[in-house]
Symmetry: C2
Subunit: 513 residues, 2 copies
């Protein structure tokens, strides 16, 4: 058995069953090992940012890590932006990064780079093997590190000769600690604050799903506490039958206004709210004056259990009222706009769908429409690095083959990782992508106005214009094997969406808004 | 004047006239400054890898740096692979990397990352400003650092508040040292070796152009020395009327065989040859036994002047015979293949064209066909990180608006930075892209065979197959506003190429090979 086979066997034994791959020459023996070892699904991605974003989406839905297989420093670098997002989403990922053979590294070959230096800024755990016999144990440690609560990025750098040289055998799966329990004192402080009133719970991660969310609902029902979630939470269970949670607004002023009057902001799996960007003369911290943040559960702690403990201590046994199922009214016939688009999505979202949202300006203001749509998981751009909507959807579809995935996707951001559409077609993934074709970096046009530079020679405005030439998303999708249609009227969009939802397999709708 | 305006004015004063930009919110004031300051052309790229690759192509042809404008750590990271290539090409680039406002950095906002740590591995020079008044001087130093011979990557990290806060004014251009002269001793050693015979000159950079190449030719004519260039030289002046230079083969065995019998390998602007990858039981160093490498000029030294000094010392005044102009014979009618494709390119390459080559397996073996084509500049994938063919062509076309740019582009690699086509359409750049559609990562299929894993369950082979679904390059190009056609016969390809060469503006030909 060579090092490569020992790696793949160890990953499979450790519960890693999917590898999103974009390999090169230095990874050839790892690729060859996929033929020998059963139990690992290899999903080819035509760009590394697709592979890392798919691993993020997979982990958000599967709750366990996928592997990526990446080629040397530059190949890893192409995946950094979506690893940044995954890191902020706090999901587990195991990156296998090939490097030149140890004997080859001292020469300045064209692809020689400082792989470890590129890997470190987005990895919680990095190990670089120097011989084949250490690969299996390192791989087991990588999976263990990735699975440590709340989920971490582990990167294993494997020189080519650690793949092709003889190794002993695979390593067994290593134990993973459960998330740390929250202290009784933290629970007691939260209970006291809730009894005092004027509280809000700011929720993220497990607190936005299942038992955690139900417990938060009981607390809200018993005490009148508001339930709020981070602006970009990695995953929320929403829709009919679920406890409704308000989303913190994106811009500082409305965020502060929303929290005004709250005396204690109880944090569950998140930090006190921070503005997305700093602006002249605006605060970075969004906790309003007179409001005190209070940590119930840090991200590495068991936020769901903490909420249940608080609810029990309060005697809050009555479940919260949940969102009703309400089909949004059909918008009037006419030009499609982001508002009518979301209403139509709400009309046709299938039960138990997964929504991957990177709609930026287009979707944000109409987010609440889906509060009463069919129950679904809603995945947001957790790290702000654009280009995760399509890859996250791709990975989520691999993790959940029986659920429909719907992507709400801004056009500018879609261009960063459009290669994901090819993988969707290749793997026959059940993904419907709705491209908000506003043909601009609309959010930046807004920002430019905010900084007071909307006038001028037009050179600045031109940097946010995507209309010359127009991006033709039907051709782009078809070019990668995905059936697509363009619509600009409400009726046509509803027909296209109904048809795409009824079918299986990848579809794209270019919605001109 | 704010920091942003002082930056742009300083860049323009320092000779930086083009900025390949993909900005975000934190760069908004820099964008706004473009409206105020004349003299800077802003070219929008829809992905950062396009911006950095275009800056590389611009610098290779213009001989001076362009700026890039990139958004925070993840945006910079998207540009790393092509900065890696630019670094190996040893060209000057000035990266302007926005960061969160200094007041905002201590909070863990979604886009917070260790920008400097991401920037360092591919930058020769890094500076991070902390206040607006230091921006102008730092920008002048950045340009100076980038222009230091032979060309370096300078990255200036600018927190948003250094852009919006008041600054004094622009900084003047700083002096740039000429490349270091080669010592008389180095010249004398090379002369002695050449007089002894059985020498080869291994050339790169300035030694492959103009006076440097002419001097190398005179040396070869006088001494019988062979002229060889690096496998992937950043830029070569080739074709009819130029001194012919042999290209070092890609694989170790033929490279060593080519140099066998050479007693002294004189290095001009490059290092002793190294294999692209390490392989089991194959050497990394390609200098054959019995051959001694001898440095005439290090990369930072003036290789062209050194060659002229050597030629003068040898009394080598007679110019070398140059390549004749020879129109390749028209290939027989029938299915197109890489060989017939290159012959047809040789028939239609216009005078003074720029060829951006990322054809990988498709073009490599037919490279010599263009030795006798019309004179042209030939640009190669200097750093091996795939995805530079289209961006480099884009930047070269911006640098040389009066020259036709022809891209020889493998299909797999093209997918990494296909967004470059949009910028070509937007800027009406005169680029003809020929996609070698072999619908596979062909080089990796070869590599897999070499490591002995071509058989097996087929999972491995499937990772190199791009035929399910087929990438439709006509639709992909048209989706970004570039006129395109698909051909699979020699006659149709010749018609398509002749028509594309005769027209102005971007065209793409999907050549099924």
């Amino acid at each position: 058995m060579n090092g490569a086979e020992s790696l793949v066997r160890t990953l499979v034994a450790s519960g890693v069953e999917v590898c999103f791959a974009n390999p090169g020459t230095s990874e050839m023996h790892f690729v060859a090992a996929l033929d020998t070892v059963p139990g690992m699904r290899a999903v080819l991605c035509l760009f590394e940012g697709v592979a890392t974003g798919a691993a993020d989406g997979y982990a958000r839905m599967a709750g366990r890590p996928a592997a990526t297989l990446l080629h040397l420093g530059p190949g890893f670098a192409n995946g950094i932006a979506n690893l940044h997002n995954a890191r902020k989403a706090r999901v587990p990922i195991v990156n296998v990064v090939g490097d030149h053979a140890t004997t080859h590294q001292r020469f300045d070959a064209p692809l020689t780079a400082d792989v470890a230096a590129m890997v470190r800024p987005v990895s919680h755990w990095v190990e670089s093997c120097r011989d084949a016999r250490s690969v299996a144990a390192a791989a087991a440690r990588a999976v263990q590190a990735a699975r440590e609560a709340p989920g971490r990025i582990a990167s294993l750098i494997l020189p080519a000769d650690t793949a092709w040289s003889p190794a002993a055998g695979p390593s067994p799966r290593l134990p993973v600690h459960a998330p740390a329990p929250v202290s009784d004192a933290a629970v007691a402080r939260a209970v006291a604050a809730l009894r005092a009133g004027r509280t809000a719970l700011l929720l993220r991660a497990e607190a936005l799903r299942g038992d955690g969310l139900a417990a938060a609902g009981r607390i809200a029902a018993a005490t009148g506490a508001r339930l709020v979630c981070d602006t970009f939470a990695p995953r929320i269970e929403r829709g009919a039958g679920r406890v409704r949670v308000e989303r913190l607004p994106y811009r500082p002023e409305p965020a502060i206004a929303m929290l005004s009057g709250t005396e204690t902001l109880i944090l569950v799996g998140t930090q006190a709210p921070i503005a997305f960007f700093g602006y002249p003369d605006q605060p970075s911290e969004l906790t309003p004056p007179g409001c005190t943040p209070l940590v119930l559960a840090h991200p590495h702690e068991d936020g769901a259990a903490a909420l249940e403990a608080v609810a029990d201590a309060l005697g809050a046994v009555a479940p919260a009222p949940v969102a009703p199922f309400r089909i949004p009214e059909r918008p009037p016939a006419g030009r499609l706009d982001p508002g009518s688009l979301m209403r139509i999505v709400g009309r046709h979202l299938p039960d138990d769908a997964i929504v991957s949202d990177e709609s930026i300006t287009g979707g944000f203001q109409h987010y609440a429409v889906l509060d009463t749509a069919a129950p679904h998981d809603f995945l947001s751009l957790a790290g702000g690095a654009i280009g995760d909507g399509l890859p996250v959807a791709t990975g989520a579809a691999v993790a959940c083959p029986d659920r429909k995935v719907v992507v709400l996707q801004a056009d500018g951001s879609a261009m960063y990782t459009l290669q994901a559409l090819w993988t969707q077609a290749r793997e026959r993934l059940d993904v419907v992508t709705i491209v908000y074709a506003n043909r601009a970096y609309k959010v930046l046009m807004d920002e430019l106005r905010i900084v007071g530079a909307a006038e001028g020679s037009g050179k600045a405005q031109a940097l946010f214009d995507l209309a010359d030439p127009v991006l033709d998303w039907v051709r782009l999708a078809e070019g990668m094997g995905v059936e697509a249609v363009r619509v600009d009227e409400t009726g046509a969009f509803e027909d296209a969406l109904a048809s795409a939802v009824a079918a299986r397999g990848p579809r794209l709708i270019e919605a001109v808004v």
